[in-house]
Symmetry: C2
Subunit: 144 residues, 2 copies
DNA sequence: GTCTTGCCTGTTACAGTGTAACGATCGGCG
DNA sequence: CGCCGATCGTTACACTGTAACAGGCAAGAC
């Protein structure tokens, strides 16, 4: 992610090797990764990376909007949009291939805002995760 | 929940004591309960209920739409609506008092359906969880 | 240079979450 | 009675996440 690298320059000092490599691992994978999976990929023979370090790196990355946490999977994916941290994304999680697509819909945001205002609820963070079957996997099943 | 009791009759054999008591515990609490919290409340001196039994009861209850799982909290709340299992609910989770309010919005469902159709994604289950501050807690803060 | 400060990382330990596997129990049925 | 299916108890285990403390490293103050 070139965007991440660019944002990294702004944080210069803060974007350490561990955090950069954590982001790389998450970005290379096409599906959500658990913290322990990341730790395993970051580890080399004789150089083990503890899961707790990964968690701290992930905290940093999520705070700066470079990765997202998938609550229903306890896993992490790279952020594919340049949206601000306060904005809400919709995650489409495919049960067949495990891929996660991140989309943003102004329409959904509007209806959410409307419903929240009606309820007198002041939102801080939003989680919208849809499990199902992505278009590619639907096509694959029709063929087979 | 009288509704749950009524639905229980239909499942006659399936609605065992453990499952009923699990539902009671979840319904009595005004906030999401973890599986181990439930197990603790179900346990009596000399009669310990293991968490794994609670998980099985919760699986049953969620399948039949009597309780919901709050993915962002790893906790469970009673279902407050008679909606079908396929319908999507919106959970408003208050960070101050920990309460969870369940609402249904046709507007949100429409916009979600629209976005999903555009993406060619076939949804199976939907998770919409908003963290923030409920109306009651906002009023309380203004006073204090 | 040295000292202090603050941040990041390593390590250990531990609490919480969830599942697999096996055995026992109970009710219904031939 | 014996069989069968579902539920439940128990143990064991894997995964997820946090607390606490120690060491390293860069930057600024003296």
């Amino acid at each position: 992610m070139a965007r991440a690298e660019r944002l990294a320059q702004d944080l210069s000092l803060q974007f350490t090797t561990l955090r950069r490599r954590t982001l790389e691992v998450v970005a290379e994978e096409g599906r959500p990764l658990g913290a322990y999976d990341i730790a395993e990929r970051l580890s080399a023979p004789g150089k083990r990376v503890a899961a707790v370090s990964v968690y701290r790196a992930l905290d940093f990355l999520t705070e700066h909007g470079l990765v997202h946490r998938i609550a229903s999977r306890n896993a992490f994916v790279p952020c594919e949009h340049g949206h601000g941290a306060g904005e809400s994304a919709v995650f489409l999680i495919c049960r067949s291939c495990g891929s996660v697509d991140e989309t943003i819909s102004a329409e959904i945001e509007r209806s959410l805002d409307h419903t929240l205002a009606q309820a007198g609820f002041k939102p801080a963070s939003r989680i919208v995760e849809i499990e199902g079957e992505c278009g590619a996997c639907q096509g694959r099943q029709e063929e087979g």
